[in-house]
């Protein structure tokens, strides 16, 4: 049973068809790489899955429920989380407080559990801890996000995303703007998340990073799916090679 099913989804802006009849499935526990030259429609697909945009046509199913027209928060509550390309955080709250928001439930009139344990768990999982010198306990960082390096911001985004207990994680250009050392670190983090059973869809321009991590690849070009398969199959696909050479390359 596929975790996510995107069926014949279409979206246009004005006269421009950003996504044209795209369909694919994501099985539980795999990492699917969504690649394509600039303007291929990858971010739009994410926006459509997350409910930020509504498709003109087509349907999206998550765990056999149709989520095509659900509002974003409902989709998140159902189990899909997104890491934004440009980090969306709360600039005047500390890292801890940023991650905490994900641990707070949506309902107003209930007795909610203390968000602290979950928050610290998210921090620990994404490497946002400061370890106190004497002990091994994780103390979530107390600085402002503005003080973090790019890699740190990415971890913050991830911490906030996994704080909502997602079953499917959408990573939008997680390697963008990172030094090669940071790329390796984040890459390891993503792989370890998958090893724990997290299902992931990964969008990025860094081909080596995506090819290494992904179990399967879906290739988009000008809004259409032109190829799908294992990284090796896709790399050998002549259409894909042409699209990259013509469209802007690696």
């Amino acid at each position: 049973m596929a975790l996510l099913r995107v069926e014949n989804v279409r979206k246009s802006f004005g006269g421009l068809m950003a996504v044209k009849d795209v369909s694919f499935r994501v099985e539980p526990g795999e990492i699917v790489g969504l690649i394509g030259p600039n303007g291929a429609g990858k971010s739009t697909v994410f926006n459509l899955i997350m409910g930020t945009l509504k498709p003109d046509r087509g349907r999206i199913f998550f765990k056999s429920q149709e989520i095509t027209h659900w509002p974003t928060y409902k989709i998140v509550d159902a189990g899909i989380a997104r890491v934004f390309q440009i980090a969306q955080y709360f600039p005047r709250k500390t890292v801890y407080e940023n991650v905490e928001i994900a641990a707070i439930p949506n309902e107003i009139f209930i007795r909610a559990p203390d968000p602290a344990p979950k928050t610290l768990q998210s921090c620990a999982r994404t490497g946002l801890c400061e370890h106190s010198p004497n002990e091994d306990r994780c103390i979530c960082r107390e600085e402002l996000p503005g003080m973090l390096p790019q890699g740190g911001l990415r971890r913050l985004e991830l911490a906030r995303a996994i704080g909502t207990d997602p079953e499917l994680l959408l990573l939008d250009e997680p390697f963008a703007g990172l030094s090669s050392g940071e790329v390796d670190e984040i890459s390891h983090l993503i792989a370890s998340l998958r090893d724990e059973g997290q299902t992931i869809i990964l969008v990025d321009h860094n081909m080596r990073g995506v090819m290494r991590l992904a179990d399967r690849i879906v290739v988009l070009c000008f809004g259409e799916k032109i190829a799908e398969g294992t990284p090796e199959e896709v790399a050998r696909n002549p259409q894909v090679q042409e699209a990259y050479l013509a469209g802007g390359g690696f």
Binding site: T72, Y73, V76, R82, Y89, E97, I104, N106
Partner: protein, 335 residues
């Protein structure tokens, strides 16, 4: 010290001071502080919505008017007991708030603020058209008093401490709310709505909740004010100046801190009275001394202008400035 504890202590200290000085105040100042307490309630009510979520409402006096006219007119014409009419007044204010917030919250930033102005303007027009009932631009007397005492002094004490109780209750509730997990979400909404939505929170629901709480608090203050005045009075129930002063009070005190709004409220109302006091002075200039009685006429203008200047100068607010001195590193949580 956690934020909640800090704000509660400051609230506690302030209300204790106000409670103690009551019997020592000259009559005129006792009335002033009573009205200041009402206004502090308005300011705190504004703060829990606009101070926390960043959706700046310009027309909050609307809730004072809805609640005030409801309780006043029901009491005046149908002679219902004031506990019932106050409850109904507040219910009307909350209902109006809910009805308005649902469409209005789809607007962003300055456009939302602009639309909130329509509320008091439309209400004012309605009140004038229905002048035979509402008393129009003048108002109507004969509303039941909040306190049952015949003796003027006893009544004054009763009003003072009744409002004190309301103000303290509201302050406690709002501080608790603003430092609870709900408050954290409201503040997060102010900083980045998209991120909050992406964390699985229904942003619209929380905004509407804040609106309802705000309407309820401001409505309570408004209803009480009508019974303290024993009248429905256009200039106090629909004053745009008061609406702006709510913003000033909260900003000067520190937006989103609740206690700051309370302090700001006292600054605004107390300050205005102080300026009027000046009108009674005589400067030691010239043979007979220079009477400053002209200040009386100019009081509102001078004070309001000062407030606006202060608003833009002290934008960050007093409370954040103060607590900046008290806070050091915040290593609050550890697993």
């Amino acid at each position: 010290m956690s934020t909640r504890a800090l704000r509660l202590s400051l609230l506690g200290a302030t209300v204790i001071v106000i409670a103690i000085i009551g019997p020592f105040l000259p009559a005129k100042w006792m009335t002033t502080i009573t009205y200041a307490q009402i206004f502090a309630i308005y300011a705190m009510g504004w703060d829990i919505l606009s101070g926390m979520t960043g959706q700046i409402s310009f027309g909050h006096i609307f809730f004072v008017a809805v609640s005030g006219y409801t309780t006043g007119l029901l009491n005046l014409y149908l002679r219902w007991p004031i506990w019932a009419t106050i409850l109904l007044g507040v219910a009307m204010a909350v209902l109006a708030g809910l009805m308005f917030s649902v469409p209005a919250l789809r607007l962003r930033g300055p456009y939302f603020s602009l639309i909130t102005l329509i509320l008091p303007l439309a209400t004012a027009r309605l009140v004038i058209i229905l002048a035979d009932w509402t008393g129009g631009e003048l108002g109507k007397f004969g509303v039941a008093a909040l306190c049952p005492f015949l003796d003027y002094k006893a009544n004054q004490y009763c009003n003072y401490y009744a409002l004190w109780a309301l103000m303290t209750g509201v302050g406690l509730l709002l501080i608790w709310l603003s430092t609870s997990r709900i408050g954290k979400i409201l503040e997060a909404i102010r900083e980045n709505e998209e991120a909050v939505e992406a964390a699985g929170i229904n942003v619209a629901k929380y905004k509407i909740f804040a609106f309802a709480v705000s309407a309820c608090v401001v409505g309570l203050g408004g209803a009480f004010s009508v019974h303290v005045n024993e009248s429905v009075f256009f200039n106090s129930l629909l004053s745009l100046t008061t609406s702006i002063e709510m913003i000033v009070a909260s900003v000067i005190g520190g937006m989103g801190t609740i206690v700051g709004a309370l302090w700001g409220g006292f600054l605004v109302r107390g300050g205005e009275e102080l300026i009027r006091e000046v009108a009674h002075w005589k400067l030691p200039i010239g043979a007979e001394g220079l009477a400053l009685s002209f200040v009386e006429r100019w009081a509102t203008f001078i004070f309001f202008t000062l407030l606006i200047v202060l608003l833009f100068v002290a934008r960050q607010g007093l409370l954040p400035l103060l607590t900046g001195f008290f806070r050091r590193g915040k290593k609050r949580y550890a697993s």
